[in-house]
């Protein structure tokens, strides 16, 4: 069986089975929300996001959303509000040959309007090329970028995202983000141990050429999450400053346990 529990993405059958897919008649009238939310999750921001009352959850918060397709204008206000990134806007009638698919995209760097990108399906595999027709970063989206792609009509039911762009320009991008936020060096990189970007840079200047070297100098990665959050960022900083490529940077020594374990569990009677 192809299920979301096995694959981490829903199958067409599962989506069809939850009675939330707009009808063909509605698709003929242009943009409409496609809600691919098939699990009974306690979550309802989509209901409040729709100013037209087109999405209904009802009294039980674990209800799946129901789309009232005649009320939906396809405005897209709900797309960035779904924490599960499960809402899309599909316009099968974008023009004669193409459909438009709108989806949330939480990766950097962002594409530019008019750029040709790889359009991907629910599994993340490339299915066709698409042209970016909108990059919506409005304040209402609260940092979740919403992108609209024009794609060949026949893939309208398949395309649900775009391939993440290469970070060939990552350094410039980093600077761009830093300029935006102002205080670059106070940015906390390791949140558990509150290690700042400046402290990481100082450690690299001090001669650290590995994640372990930085850890020993700053404690970055020694907190509750054991480096799961900051390791990637730090290795990128290391690449940027030393000229090493990411494949040359060894991962930090993995130390058990994988997640915090209580001493009572460890000290059980098994080892007598």
């Amino acid at each position: 069986m192809n299920t979301i529990l096995q694959n981490a993405y829903p199958s067409i059958e599962e989506i069809a089975g939850c009675n939330c897919f707009p009808s063909d008649e509605r698709f003929l009238r242009g943009s409409v929300a496609v809600i691919e939310c098939i699990q009974e999750i306690p979550c309802n921001p989509c209901e409040a996001a729709c100013k037209h009352g087109a999405i209904e959850i009802g009294n039980s918060i674990t209800n799946r959303p129901v789309l009232k397709e005649d009320l939906c204008t396809g405005c897209g206000a709900c797309v960035s509000k779904c924490p599960g990134l499960a809402i899309f806007i599909v316009n099968r009638e974008y023009n004669e040959k193409e459909a438009a698919v709108t989806f949330p995209h939480e990766y950097l760097p962002l594409p530019k309007k008019g750029q040709e990108v790889d359009a991907v399906n629910r599994t993340g595999n490339i299915v066709c090329k698409g042209i970016v027709i909108q990059v919506n970063n409005s304040a209402n989206n609260d940092c979740t970028t919403v992108i609209t792609l024009a794609i060949p009509k026949e893939y309208a039911n398949e395309v649900r995202g775009m391939k993440r762009l290469d970070r060939e320009d990552a350094k410039a991008l980093h600077e761009c983000i830093c300029n935006k936020t102002g205080n670059t060096d106070d940015t906390i990189v390791c949140r558990c141990e509150e290690v700042t970007s400046q402290q990481i840079k100082d450690a690299i200047l001090d001669g650290a050429v590995s994640l372990t070297g930085i850890k020993r100098r700053t404690r970055a990665g020694m907190g509750l999450c054991q480096g799961r959050t900051c390791q990637k960022i730090i290795s990128r900083m290391l690449c940027g400053m030393t000229g090493l490529t990411e494949d040359k940077i060894d991962p930090d020594t993995a130390r058990p346990p994988v997640k915090p374990v209580s001493i009572a569990v460890l000290g059980g009677d098994e080892n007598d």
């Binding site: 590995s210 907190g223 130390r255 058990p256 915090p260 001493i263 460890l266 000290g267 059980g268």
Partner: protein, 392 residues
């Protein structure tokens, strides 16, 4: 032939860094080589403390006290905060047999000038209320403290560079050239040769392999220890607290503790040490294995032993475990010594007290190299005490 360096130090852990620091202070041009990064080996896998609690009374206790006092000087002289906190430690006594040994140590160490106090049951539980009720007494050492050995190593490194010394990480010692007179002439590395007439070998567990390249047989082996890191922000103890049994395990007194055969075989006991980073470290183990991978069974046994002394720990989480290898010698005392090769010195084999002994050992080595009188007589630490082991 012109020398590249007055002296080469092999090993970038606490011993090597301290030796290079004091030798640079004496005005010698030093080059330190290290096979990995600075503070990469046992230094970064230790619990970073300096207490005079686990030495045998007599010479080693004098040595330990002098060593612990060096950190005050370093804290003042170095432009580096290495988290040196002096808060003493308490040893928990489980039964009458341990109390007997503890009483003898108390008398002997007091005569050695150590600030020590025997606490009765009531006092122990008043002092550390989380202790399990059946602990019958405690032995308190008010001197000594804990530190961050990695920060200290980096701090010493910066001071060495400022004094004109040189650090060469990722440089491995590959051999030595000894001249016809039996003196050091060259240190061969995988990163070029260094002309010098003096060498200090301070490579901890790796010392024996390197000494063999010069034809010296060092009786140093690996003694593994494991530590558990408790989640931050929980209060368990005020200061370092450990079972008195640590002395029994470390110094091999032969008295049996009431532990499982597995615990006995792996030298498992209890210590807890709150750190400045708000974590607490829990130990300990001692068994002859040369690996820095955590051993699940040992970790479990340490957890079990910890609950026996501090039942409150049951509800707390372990976020990380780590292991290191102590450079062990047959008599548990360090080797701070010259050798049969002129200009070849050794500062290694500091067993479980390497962090504490390192600045003092480094200082002694620098005095020995310069032909000065040493702060303390170091003949008891000479390599020649293992004469049977040395084959040319």
């Amino acid at each position: 032939m012109t020398k590249t360096a007055d002296i080469v130090i092999i090993g970038g852990g606490m011993q090597g860094m301290a030796s290079a620091y004091y030798l640079s202070q004496k005005g010698l041009k030093t080059i330190l080589i290290e096979q990995g990064d600075i503070a990469n080996g046992t230094t970064s896998r230790s619990d970073g403390d300096a207490f005079v609690s686990d030495t045998n009374p007599g010479y080693m206790t004098f040595f330990a006290k002098a060593a612990a006092m060096e950190f005050d000087t370093l804290a003042r002289d170095l432009d580096c905060d290495f988290e040196w906190i002096k808060r003493g430690c308490v040893l928990l006594i489980e039964n009458e047999a341990e109390l007997e040994i503890a009483k003898k140590q108390y008398e002997a160490k007091r005569k050695n000038g150590i600030e020590i106090r025997l606490m009765d049951q009531k006092e122990v539980h008043y002092d550390e209320p989380n202790t399990t009720p059946d602990i019958i007494a405690g032995l308190e050492f008010t001197e000594g403290g804990s530190l961050n050995p990695m920060l200290l190593s980096f701090g010493l490194g910066n001071a060495i560079l400022k004094m004109g010394g040189e650090l060469r990480p990722y440089t491995k010692a590959m051999g030595f050239e000894i001249d016809q007179k039996g003196s050091v002439a060259k240190v061969l590395t995988d990163n070029g040769d260094i002309l010098t007439d003096k060498v200090v070998l301070a490579a901890g567990v790796w010392s024996a392999d390197i000494a063999r390249l010069a034809g010296i047989n060092l009786p140093i082996t690996a003694m593994k220890g494991d530590l558990l890191v408790v989640e931050p922000e929980v209060y368990i103890t005020r200061r370092k607290t450990m079972e008195f049994g640590y002395n029994i395990v470390r110094n091999e007194y032969g008295t049996k503790r009431s532990v499982t055969p597995f615990m006995e075989a792996h030298g498992i006991g209890f210590l807890i040490e709150p750190t400045l980073s708000n974590n607490a470290l829990i130990g300990f183990s001692k068994y002859p294995v040369n690996s820095t991978l955590s051993n699940n069974m040992v970790i479990r046994a340490i957890a079990k032993r910890a609950i026996r002394f501090f039942p409150i720990l049951k509800d707390m989480n372990i976020i990380r475990t780590y292991s290191g290898v102590r450079p062990w010698t047959p008599d548990h005392e360090p080797i701070v010594s010259d050798t049969q090769i002129n200009g070849f010195y050794i500062s290694s084999g500091h067993c479980g007290n390497g962090i504490m002994y390192s600045p003092f050992s480094g200082k002694l080595i620098s005095q020995m190299v310069c032909g000065e009188e040493t702060d303390i007589d170091i003949t008891p630490l000479s390599l020649s005490r293992f004469e049977d082991n040395i084959k040319l």
